[in-house]
């Protein structure tokens, strides 16, 4: 009689999972637990440890067996929040996964709560969250960009209506105050997903409303009158130059992919690593994206102003 091989059991379990309609993600997560037990199984006979493959598959799918993927996902998030580079995150997750496979403990007992372990790792690697952006730097680019936006819209409207472009006091104040608003919103956006979305959306809406009000109604006092084309060109050049200058010099740590470094990664099955080589936008992509968004903002503001004035 041939010696039972863990692979046969795994194949049977997988087949049963597919038959029961489990998704790819679920199958990968459950198979990870199979490998945990494989080390313990005497003579590689997993059935002796886990019971019949079909029953195991049914139990696992119904959630009657623990899955370690949750710990790894939490750990990944905590590491990311602390600014640990993507490559290191991939290594750490693989280490935890491989170690608890060997020791057959649950990850929290072996490594402590995800937050605590992530803090330890961040300490060892000297990672700092949000490295490289300072308040002053962001305000220094925010103020001229806002001024340039308003100026460009005045210029565009002036060109379309054959008028001069006034530089009003309100425009100046808005250029100084709106970037402060986004500074305040920043920490709130990072706090949590729900609050973050609400804050980002609210901040965007407020900014647009303020800009419209300034351009349509707060047209006195006028500090200077510029030819429309001067306003339009100056605004565009300043804004686009600042976008180019303030783009990140390299891929931010957060966008590096978290790849499972193990040679046989398809066996890991916990699906908390990134698949494929998609690394997100590089500095060039970010600059092009920002420029496109800015032009869209100019277009929409110009249309609104033309309609409301």
């Amino acid at each position: 009689m041939t010696k039972p091989h863990p692979g046969h059991y795994a194949d049977q379990a997988k087949a049963e999972l597919r038959r029961l309609g489990a998704g790819k993600e679920q199958i990968r997560r459950i198979m990870a637990d199979v490998w945990v037990q494989a080390a313990e199984a005497p003579d590689g006979d997993l059935a002796a440890v886990l019971g019949p493959a079909e029953q195991f598959a049914g139990d696992a799918l119904a959630g009657r067996r623990p899955v370690r993927a949750d710990y790894l996902r939490q750990l990944r998030t905590e590491l990311h929040t602390r600014g640990v580079p993507g490559q290191r995150i991939g290594e750490v997750l693989a280490e935890v996964d491989a170690h608890v496979t060997d020791t057959r403990e649950d990850p929290a007992s072996a490594f402590g709560p995800p937050r605590q372990y992530a803090a330890r790792i961040a300490e060892e690697t000297g990672a700092t969250p949000e490295a490289g952006s300072s308040t002053t730097r962001r305000l220094l680019t925010g103020v001229p960009v806002t001024a340039a936006t308003l100026l460009a819209v005045e210029g565009a409207v002036g060109l379309l209506r054959d008028q001069a472009a006034p530089v009003t006091l309100a425009v100046l104040l808005a250029a100084l105050l709106l970037p402060v608003l986004s500074q305040v919103a920043g920490p709130l956006v990072r706090r949590s997903a729900g609050l973050g979305c609400a804050t980002a959306l609210g901040s965007l809406v407020v900014t647009q409303i303020v800009q419209v009000v300034v351009l349509v109604w707060l047209r006195q006092p006028v500090l200077a009158d510029l030819p429309a084309w001067v306003a339009a060109v100056t605004g565009a050049v300043v804004a686009l130059a600042l976008i180019v200058v303030s783009r990140p010099t390299e891929r931010p740590a957060g966008t590096a992919p978290v790849i499972d470094p193990r040679p046989d990664a398809q066996h890991s099955g916990t699906a908390v690593w990134d698949t494929g080589k998609d690394e997100g936008p590089g500095p060039r992509g970010i600059a092009w994206g920002a420029a496109a968004l800015w032009l869209a903002e100019i277009a929409w503001l110009t249309v609104v102003v033309l309609l409301l004035r």
């Binding site: 863990p6 692979g7 490998w35 945990v36 494989a38 080390a39 590689g44 290594e91 750490v92 693989a94 280490e95 935890v96 996964d97 491989a98 170690h99 608890v100 496979t101 060997d102 020791t103 007992s109 072996a110 490594f111 402590g112 605590q116 372990y117 803090a119 330890r120 790792i121 300490e123 060892e124 690697t125 470094p261 193990r262 040679p263 046989d264 066996h267 890991s268």
Partner: protein
Amino acid sequence: MLTSQRYCLVVTADEEWPAQWLRGVLELCVLGLVCEQETYGYAIANELQRAGLGRIKGGTLYPILLRLEEDGLVDSAWREGEAGPGRKFFHATDQGRRELRRRAARWSAFTSTTDALLSRVLKES
């Protein structure tokens, strides 16, 4: 018994060494084991336990290995496992071996010093 001290998680079955003492010397012991032969996390933990230092948890061991790697004293490589996910193997660099000799010598001097002090104190009491 579970002892925890800041980020150090140590569970010991037979021997119960104070976590504070282990924090001082674990890195050196781990470096020593890696210099002895190429090895991986689980095997290191077993060796430490066999040597009488208690059961060292992954949460303590891997940050130590990470620091050793960041300091250039060890290198690591993932190898395919026989059954299941691969393992991360650590081996010592030349700098690591030099550092082991240096630190072990200093540790020896340190323990001699404390032994001498304690013997004197105990003799007097």
